[in-house]
């Protein structure tokens, strides 16, 4: 397929990351001066989580192609920044997702089965099949509720942290969003309120190069997204988003600063969306394959694996086992999810309000009385 595109520059990892410090070098070794010196088990755990995320992601895309689920929006290529930033939050901290962060949700402890049920919107979906796939919610895991409108979660994450600050609870919030979302109203108010009220919030911008078909350099005329912090008196930092140690270190420092009363931080995590925007998108219509290829080499999983190799912490067999394990687990989850019925009709009417008001009770009764729809999609 011949591709014409409006893309003017190919942004290789080298170009994109110019001037950004890295920890894990090309040889897989950690730069001693920046190495956060994490517990090895933690590093390994992050690696396993990243691989699991990748495997799940790929499988869900297949399920969607097969028409078995309706939609998936994944994190192919962005697992590094997502997992490392989630890992850098303390247990008491809250995470507000954008929509690519199912890896962070699993990290926080949601059972895979729950997530898969969400992908199927079945009766066991924690959100009762009310939203599209990948619009999960994980309050038990101190993890927010996904909604589609771009940016809204930012202001909420700031408000949540502000509440905690007012109530003098030691709690930091982090919030994910894409670089496209920096153009939204919400980025502006969230940053401004965070700055003025010095809320303990870490604003995590996944700069993955694209907002659907719009390249990041068309989103703003500022040189970086991190420097947008200046407009709000908020510290802004860029980091190599595919470098797990760099992300962990940067986020952790921001969390600690926030917890100590030092206020919010905007972190631009430089990464790349290797897949289409979602299963609804075909990126070949707008981007140059060479760019994608260049980023495949900067894959955060390969990078961390290399690092683990230098530490002698991973073998091919082990790697394969991680994949096989999640495959097997996933297979079971999918089977169960597919065997689960749809949510009950009542779920369409409950929880609009705490108590069902009269008009909804009447509508529910009317609906329940039938007839049932013939039409399916």
């Amino acid at each position: 397929m011949e591709v014409q595109t409006t893309q003017s520059v190919i942004r290789t990892p080298e170009k994109f990351l110019e001037g950004v410090a890295t920890v894990i070098g090309p040889d897989g070794r950690a730069d001693a001066s920046h190495d956060p010196k994490l517990d090895r088990a933690l590093v390994k755990k992050m690696y396993v989580a990243m691989v699991r995320t990748r495997v799940i992601d790929e499988r869900l895309v297949t399920l969607q192609r097969q028409g078995r689920i309706g939609f998936h929006i994944g994190s192919l290529g962005e697992e590094g920044c997502i997992l490392a930033s989630a890992a850098a939050m303390r247990d008491q901290d809250w995470i507000f997702p954008c929509y690519r962060e199912f890896g962070a949700l699993l990290w926080r402890g949601m059972p895979l089965q729950d997530y898969v049920n969400n992908m199927y919107g079945n009766a066991n979906d924690p959100i009762k099949g009310r939203q599209m796939p990948d619009h999960y919610s994980g309050k038990k895991y101190k993890f927010g509720s996904v909604s589609s409108p771009i940016g809204t979660q930012m202001t909420q994450a700031v408000g949540f942290a502000w509440g905690a600050k007012i109530r003098k609870e030691d709690l930091v919030t982090s919030v994910y969003f894409g670089e496209g979302a920096t153009s939204s109203n919400e980025f502006h108010t969230a940053m401004n309120f965070a700055g003025v009220f010095k809320t303990p919030t870490v604003l995590l911008c996944r700069n993955n190069g694209w907002a659907i078909s719009v390249p990041s350099e068309k989103q703003t005329a500022s040189k970086t997204f991190a420097e947008k912090g200046i407009a709000y008196g908020v510290k802004g930092i860029r980091c190599d988003g595919n470098d797990v140690l760099a992300v962990y270190k940067t986020v952790r420092e921001a969390v600690e600063r926030a917890a100590a009363g030092g206020g919010p931080t905007l972190i631009e995590m430089m990464t790349y969306r290797l897949s289409g925007h979602s299963t609804s998108d075909d990126p070949r219509a707008y981007r140059i394959e060479d760019e994608v290829t260049s980023w495949r080499k900067a894959d955060p999983i390969l990078r961390l694996r290399k690092h683990l190799e230098t530490l002698g912490m991973i073998t091919d067999a082990e790697d394969q086992k991680i994949r096989d394990d999640v495959d097997a687990e996933l297979k079971l989850c999918i089977e169960r999810a597919e065997a689960t019925e749809k949510p009950a009709l009542s779920t369409m009417f409950t929880e609009v309000f705490k108590d069902m008001p009269q008009h909804l009770q009447e509508q529910f009764d009317e609906c329940a009385a039938g007839p049932r729809p013939k039409a399916q999609h």
Binding site: Q156, A157, G163, T189, V196, E351, L360
Partner: protein, 324 residues
Amino acid sequence: MAEMTMVQAINDALRTEMRRDDRVVVLGEDVGKVGGVFRVTQGLYDEFGDDRVIDTPLAEGGIIGAAIGMALYGMRPIPEIQFSDFIFPAFDQIVSEAAKYRYRSGGEYTCPMVIRTPVGGGIRGGHYHSQSPESLFIHTAGLKVVCPSNPYDAKGLLLSSIRDEDPVMFFEPKRVYRAAKMDVPEGEYTVPLSKAAVVREGKDVTIIAWGAMLYEALQSADDVSVQGVDAEVIDLRTLWPLDIDTIIESVKKTGRVVIVHEAPKACGFGAELLSQISERAFLHLEAPPVRVTGWDTPFPYTLEMEYLPLAHRITPAVLETAKY
């Protein structure tokens, strides 16, 4: 008991609940030291400090978005929007987020908060200081909508709203703010949500109104009584979820209805009321229900008294309905 204006009664409700429940915070533009442009929050800053009575930057979306975050965290925020005409920068947070949080998260998250905002015309505010956007929020599933007409109800409804587990739009008719004083009990009491009040009984025609227009409806009821028409007047108090039973009971008695509101007619709440009445009491109707509303134009300045559905327009509508 103390004589209070609606401004004082709302202020008293806020103070009462802030003393009782330290999760309650007030935030908005100019709500702090100066006590709001209508002085509704006056004195709260001095009593509760700047952690609980918060002047924000000029950003309604930020006020509501941050309040949602606080509500998710477990607080009871009461954001103020300076005029309901300026609620639109926050519209996305209200209709896409606050209204849907409980439902979309499978009941995990809830968003109890009261969005207080002055509403309505009659104060020479023109285009952008006079509008009544209630129907936009009624159309949005997940929001409760309240509009008191007097100081007593204002305090009692506000206390109910703050204690409610769902987001409440609390519209304060600014034409009533200082119009009259009324005995208001000190301390706690509540007026239940979703209960309308029959404020005048009658047998010939039902007039439905709320907020500032209630007084116009009452005026018309007086006017028509001279001509032998006995009007019943219902003050809705809570617009949504609606107390349809009180309305239908009245309509079954009178068979005739006049609905009054300031907002434009097209897709205003009057249309919903008229529809429900027609759907539920068709065979009891002796005359087509009538809407007396603001015109389908932007809100004018000089001619606002020609725009508003005041007694001079309600009265003929009631008379005509009565003799239909």
